[in-house]
Symmetry: C2
Subunit: 421 residues, 2 copies
C-alpha cells in the first residue's frame, strides 16, 4: 500500500489487512483507537479491544516532516525503518527491556508493537518523586548489553560494518549534530532560554574553551563508530513501573560513541534533580528524593561498567579489538585487564562531557525537558535552569579531570550547595 498518513478513522480498516495481526486483533471484536503522539515526528495510535484487554497494540507511523516545526522541515520517513530494526535487535540482545515488535510496513512507514499500558513515561513520576528501585539495574543491563553486542568487542569486523551500513541514518543524525552540539552554543533562530538567564547563557556562548570541548565531543558523535546507540535515550524514551523498565523510540539509532546513551540517562536524572528546586519546596523531602536520584545515577554507571566488562570477559572471543590469542603470553592476562579498564575509562570521560553538553542544550537550545519546562514561575524555573547550566558547563570543562562517577556527582553536590546558599 503506498504511503498515506492514517487517522483514528482509517486505522482499523488498515490493520484488518495485516496477516501478522490476525491473532492479536481478532476481527470479530470491536476496538477503540486513540492518537496519543506527543513526539515531534510521528503519529502514535493506541488500539484496544472492547472485549479483551489483552488484545491491544500500539501503531506508530512516521510523518514526512518534523511536527513541531510544521511541514517546512521535511524529514524522510525512513526513520521508522531505523526504529523497527533497532527494536528487533534490542529484542534479541536485551529481551524484556523494550516493547515487542508485532508487525511493520515500510511502505506505510509504520510499526505495530506491544502496548505498554502497565507502564508510564518516566519523566512524569520522576516529577511526582516516585522512586523506582529496580530502574538502575534494569537500564544498566540494557546499556551494557546493547552497547557491548554491537561493538567491535563482540562482532566480527565484517558484521560490524554491515551493522554500521544498515544504521547509517544520515537525516536524524544531522538533527542531533545541529541541535545538541552546535546551535545551542551559537546564534540560531530556534534557540529558547529563560530571559532571566541571559547573562549566563551569553557567557557560555562565548566560552572558547567550553566550545572547543563541545566541538571535540561533536567530532566523536559524528565519527566514532563504536556501538549501535539509541541516541535519544532521555527519560521520555523510557516507560516504567515499579517492576519493569522498557526503552522505546530508537529511531535515531546509529553506530556512534557508546558513552552517549549512558550520558543521556544520567543527564536526564540530573535535570530532574534540578527541577525539584522548584517542584519540591520542603527541603527534607527534596533532599531525600535528590539523594535517591544521585544514588540511581551512581548505580547506572557502576552497573553498566560491571556488566559491560563481564560480557566482554565472557563473550569477547569473536571480537576484533582484542582478538583471541593477542594477550596470550606471561602477564598478558593482566595487560588485557588493564586495557579493559582503560576502555571503560574512555567511555566514562565521554559520558561526563556528553552529559554536560546535553544538559546545556536542553537549557539553551530548541527544546527543554518537561521536568523543567513545566515549572510555571520563571523565577523558580531559573533556579533549576541556572543549576543545570552550571553543572553542565563544569561537566564539559572538567571532563578530563573528573575520573570517576563520585567525582561527577560531587559537581552536583557542590552546585546544590551554591544554589541553596
Amino acid at each position: 500500500m503506498s504511503y498515506r498518513p492514517l487517522t483514528p478513522e482509517t486505522l482499523l480498516d488498515y490493520l484488518k489487512t495485516r496477516e501478522a495481526l490476525k491473532d492479536r486483533l481478532p476481527p470479530d471484536e470491536t476496538y477503540r483507537v486513540r492518537e496519543v503522539g506527543d513526539g515531534n515526528l510521528n503519529l502514535v495510535f493506541v488500539v484496544e479491544s472492547e472485549q479483551n484487554p489483552e488484545h491491544t497494540v500500539v501503531v506508530k507511523q512516521a510523518l514526512p516532516y518534523l511536527r513541531v516545526v510544521g511541514e517546512s522541515w521535511p524529514l524522510t520517513r525512513e526513520r521508522v525503518v531505523y526504529e523497527t530494526e533497532a527494536l528487533k535487535l534490542y529484542n534479541r540482545y536485551a529481551p524484556g527491556l523494550v516493547p515487542e515488535v508485532y508487525d511493520h510496513d515500510y511502505e506505510m512507514s509504520l510499526l505495530v508493537m506491544e502496548n505498554l499500558n502497565r507502564h508510564e513515561i518516566m519523566r512524569k513520576p520522576l516529577v511526582r518523586r516516585v522512586k523506582f528501585p529496580k530502574f538502575a539495574d534494569q537500564i544498566s543491563t540494557f546499556l551494557a548489553r546493547t552497547l557491548f553486542y554491537t561493538s567491535d568487542l563482540y562482532l566480527p569486523g565484517v558484521e560490524k560494518k554491515a551493522l554500521q551500513e544498515k544504521f547509517m541514518n544520515p537525516e536524524l543524525r544531522k538533527l542531533q549534530e545541529d541541535f545538541v552540539y552546535s546551535h545551542p552554543l551559537m546564534d540560531a533562530p530556534e534557540n529558547n532560554w529563560n530571559p532571566l538567564l541571559d547573562d549566563l547563557v551569553e557567557e557560555v556562548r562565548k566560552d572558547g574553551e567550553l566550545k572547543e570541548r563541545v566541538t571535540w565531543l561533536k567530532e566523536g558523535y559524528m565519527t566514532h563508530g563504536q556501538s549501535l546507540i539509541h541516541a535519544d535515550l532521555h527519560t521520555g524514551s523510557i516507560m516504567i513501573n515499579q517492576d519493569e523498565t522498557r526503552v522505546i523510540d530508537p529511531e535515531f539509532a546509529f553506530v556512534g560513541p557508546a558513552g552517549y546513551d549512558v550520558a543521556a540517562v544520567i543527564q536526564n536524572l540530573m535535570l530532574n534533580y534540578a527541577s525539584h528546586f522548584a517542584h519540591t519546596e520542603d527541603p527534607a523531602v527534596r533532599a531525600d528524593y535528590q539523594d535517591w536520584l544521585l544514588k540511581t545515577m551512581r548505580e547506572v554507571w557502576t552497573g553498566f561498567a560491571e556488566k559491560f566488562e563481564a560480557l566482554w570477559v565472557g563473550e569477547g572471543e569473536r571480537g576484533e579489538l582484542a582478538p583471541k590469542g593477542y594477550w596470550d603470553y606471561p602477564g598478558g592476562e593482566a595487560d588485557f585487564a588493564r586495557f579493559r579498564k582503560h576502555y571503560l575509562q574512555r567511555i566514562f570521560q565521554d559520558v561526563v562531557g556528553t552529559a554536560g553538553t546535553k544538559a546545556l542544550r536542553r537549557m539553551m537550545g530548541i527544546v527543554s525537558v518537561w521536568d523543567i519546562s513545566s515549572i510555571e514561575d520563571p523565577e523558580k524555573r531559573a533556579v533549576a535552569e541556572r543549576f543545570a547550566i552550571r553543572v553542565g558547563r563544569r561537566w564539559v570543562k572538567e571532563m578530563d579531570e573528573i575520573r570517576d562517577i563520585d567525582a561527577m556527582l560531587d559537581v552536583i553536590r557542590e552546585e546544590t550547595e551554591a544554589a541553596l546558599a
Copy 2:
C-alpha cells in the same frame, strides 16, 4: 558480460567491445599486451599501440581470491569498485596526482586507466638513492586535499554519511585490521621475520604497553570515520619521476583516521632509510641520502599540515565540525585558530603511533617491503630490520610524548647512532 578473468590473449577482443575506448585505442591499429601485476589481488595488463605510443592504457582486473595465498582465500571482487570510485574522487579533488580513469566494467571487476609509462614505482629508485625534489610538495598536496575534502570540515553531514556508506569496504578493511594491527604482534601462521631477530621480535610481542597502544590505534582504524583514506599508501602505491607524483591502487579506501595515509608515507621513507644501512656501504653517500629522506619526511608533514589548514580556513564554510557562526564572538577567531591547531595536533599523534605500528608489521608480519626484503645477506638485512623495529617500537610507545615532526625524526637520528655504534 558476466565475470571471467581475462588473459593477454582474450583482452584485446574484450577491449574492442568498449565504446568509451574507441578513440583511445583505435581499432585499425595493432597492440602489444603484457601482464605486469606484482600485487596480490589483481591482474594488471599494459596495452600499447604498435603504431602510436599515445594509444596506451592500463587494465586492472580483480581476481576473486588473494593471489599470494592462492584460491583458499576468497575475496570479493567489489574492490575494483572501491578503487575506481576512489580514483574518480581523487581526480576531482587532487587532479594530476592520480591516473585518469578511462572506463570501468563492474560486472567484469575491471578498470581501464592512464598508462603511467613515464613514471616508475617509487620503491625502486629510492633503493638506487634517486632524489625526488618535488615529491614532498606533491604528496603533501595529495594528502591535504583528499583528506580535507572528504572530512566533516568540508562536507555537509548527510553527504559525509553517503561517502562513508559508499566506501564501506568491509573485506579489505578486515585484512588490514588483522595484518597491520593484530597478527604481527601475536602468534599467526603467516608471520614472517628474520630468525636473527628472534629475541627482539619475541620481546615486542610480549610488550603489554606497546600492545595496548597498538590496540587503541586499531580501535581508531576500525571506528574513527574522519576522512576517506587510501589506506595502502606505501611507496609501492606511488608512481614517480623527477617532475610528477601519481598515487595508484586505492582499493582499500574507506572513511577512516586521517593520519593513516600520512603515516604510511613517512613510515615507508623510514623503512627505505633503514634499508640503506645495507644497500649503501659508503658512510658519506649513505648519510647524504638518509638526510634527504629525513628532510623529505619533515616536508611531508609540514606541507600536509599547512595545506590542510589553509583549505579549512578557505573552504570550511559548508563543513559541520566548526559550522559558520559558531566562532562568531569577540575572541572567537583566536579560539577557532586554537581548535584548528589542536585538530592537526591530534592527527599528528595518530601519525606517530600509526607509522610505528606499520613499521613493526612490515618487519614481523605477513609481508615486508622490497627495500628491505631485497637485501640478500641475512646479517646485513638484520641491521636494517632491527633499526626499523626499534624506531617503530619507540614511535608507538612514545606517541603521546613526541609532539612535533622534529621529535619524531629525532628518534630516527638517535637509533641511527645506536645502529652505527
